[in-house]
């Protein structure tokens, strides 16, 4: 949060690498998935939140490892698939690509800035929804509507929530 705007666009490869404790990689995604599964049951208006996606984006950005991002996205996506009615792999593929690209961005850019996080959260949410829509049409032969207006709105809301979530998750990492 203390970075200047000039530092914001610099490569982060020379900077400090964030490390999480092992339990964070298990508990945080699990909580995000449980949130996605149970909270909308009691609070339907919170159904737009994509907490697993936000967690994938955060972990991939901060790990600065593309392989780590791939594995994180694949595992969380498959876990989310296993709890949904969709075939296994739909969320897995989307979140795998999101993790890979988020990690790629995290390697080259400083992503600790709030606005960067806000923008990236919004961008990856839109990318995730678009990719999911394409796969629904191509692989499942479904005809879902291309509701980009809702995606824009929910993307903005998720980005806002994501910024606060990232701020909370920052407390869990320890500088190495």
């Amino acid at each position: 949060m203390a970075y200047s705007s000039g530092r914001m666009l610099l490569s982060q490869s020379d900077g400090p690498v964030s490390r999480f404790r092992a339990w964070v990689f298990i508990v945080v995604p699990l909580l995000a998935i449980l949130f996605q599964v149970y909270v909308p049951l009691f609070f339907p208006f919170l159904g737009f939140l994509e907490m697993p996606l936000m967690v994938v984006v955060y972990l991939s950005l901060t790990q600065r490892s593309q392989v780590g991002g791939i594995l994180t996205g694949a595992l969380i996506g498959l876990a989310q698939d296993s709890l949904s009615k969709n075939p296994l792999g739909m969320f897995g593929i989307c979140k795998t690509l999101v993790g890979y690209f988020a990690a790629s961005v995290g390697v080259h850019f400083n992503v600790d800035n709030t606005f960067v996080r806000l923008f990236l959260s919004f961008l990856f949410y839109f990318f995730h929804q678009t990719l999911y829509w394409v796969m629904q049409r191509m692989l499942l032969a479904q005809q879902p509507p291309f509701d980009y207006q809702s995606w824009l709105l929910f993307g903005a809301l998720n980005a806002v929530v994501g910024v606060f979530l990232f701020h909370f998750l920052d407390k869990l990492r320890a500088a190495v």
Partner: protein
Amino acid sequence: MESFVNRYRNLTILLLVIFAQFLLLAVQVKNDQDVRIIRVWTVTAVTPFARVVELLRGGSVGFFRNYILLHDEDAENRRLRQQVGQLKLENVFLKNELNTAERAKALGVFQARTPSKTLAATVIGTGAGSNAKVVYVDAGSARGVERGMAVVTPDGIVGKVIAAYPTASEILLATDADFAAGVISQDGGVRGTLKGQGTPFLKVDYVPIQEKVQVGQWFYTSGDDRIFPRGFPVGVVRAVRDAQPFKEILVDPVGLQRGLEDVLIITQGVHQDIPPTPVGDQPVYIAPPPPDESKPASPAAAGAPPPITEADKLRLEYQASGEAQGHKFGSGESGPPDFTGITTTLPQKPALPQKPAPAAAVPADADPKPATGATTRTTDSTRHSNQANGEPAGSTKR
């Protein structure tokens, strides 16, 4: 390879993970034809290779067969051409057989329908002269054919027998210049003499110019010539001209229109009525609709006796006459009853020929010669006089 993988390690892992999840998806998802996508992908991926392999194999085999082993192709071609020729001949033969069977069936139907006794014969040859309109048929005097008998087909008259040999007969066609027969128009108002002209058309002569004859009118045999029984179709009027002293009427013979292969020789002619409508325009009988099962049958209809024919009436009348004379039918004890007192007239004109008693038991296709077995030769005049008296043409009465 190893350096390539190391250089693009992240991208390789991404592709592997994505590919693995695609496989996972493909195993679960079915397409709109209920086939798993993994199968679709596998077949789609394998088929082009299989096609290429098959193309190479087929090309190699085809090349080997077409260029290396080509020396037998010419002989096989000749053999196949010969086989095709034989099959074509067999096809033509079978078609002819089928046509023959259909004609025979038509003749059989006509034989069963007409009251005259007829004998089926097949044309086996034509006359030697270029102008002679004669043909030979395979039925001769051994089968009861006699000179002067009429020859017809189901369509109409054909000609008459001018010579009967033991195994064949010579028939003078109606188109011959020497042919003549008595004809009558359909409405019965115009009588004339049909004459051949040596052309496809026949001429109706001796029709006064005041008679009304129209094109399209039908002519039938009148029975006046003692050769053709009354009521056989002759032809349709194609042209009518007024001339002196008689009309010139040209008739298209219907009996010769469909070729001449099978004919019927009338061995015992029975006169018939002139049909009210042309042959090709006969009314079609349509059965009454089935009774309505929901309505009960009328009591009058339930108790009514079954309808009887004219023959039944005759039989009952003769039976009553015999029983009145005390005759017991079938016993053979008493002599024959006297039926001379019965004065029954048949409803149709002219009357059916009164067949002699022995001939009544003869089947329709039996030899029409007298049952007495006498070796008498029937002359034309004798037979004609018999026909005039209502006797069958095959019976002999001097």
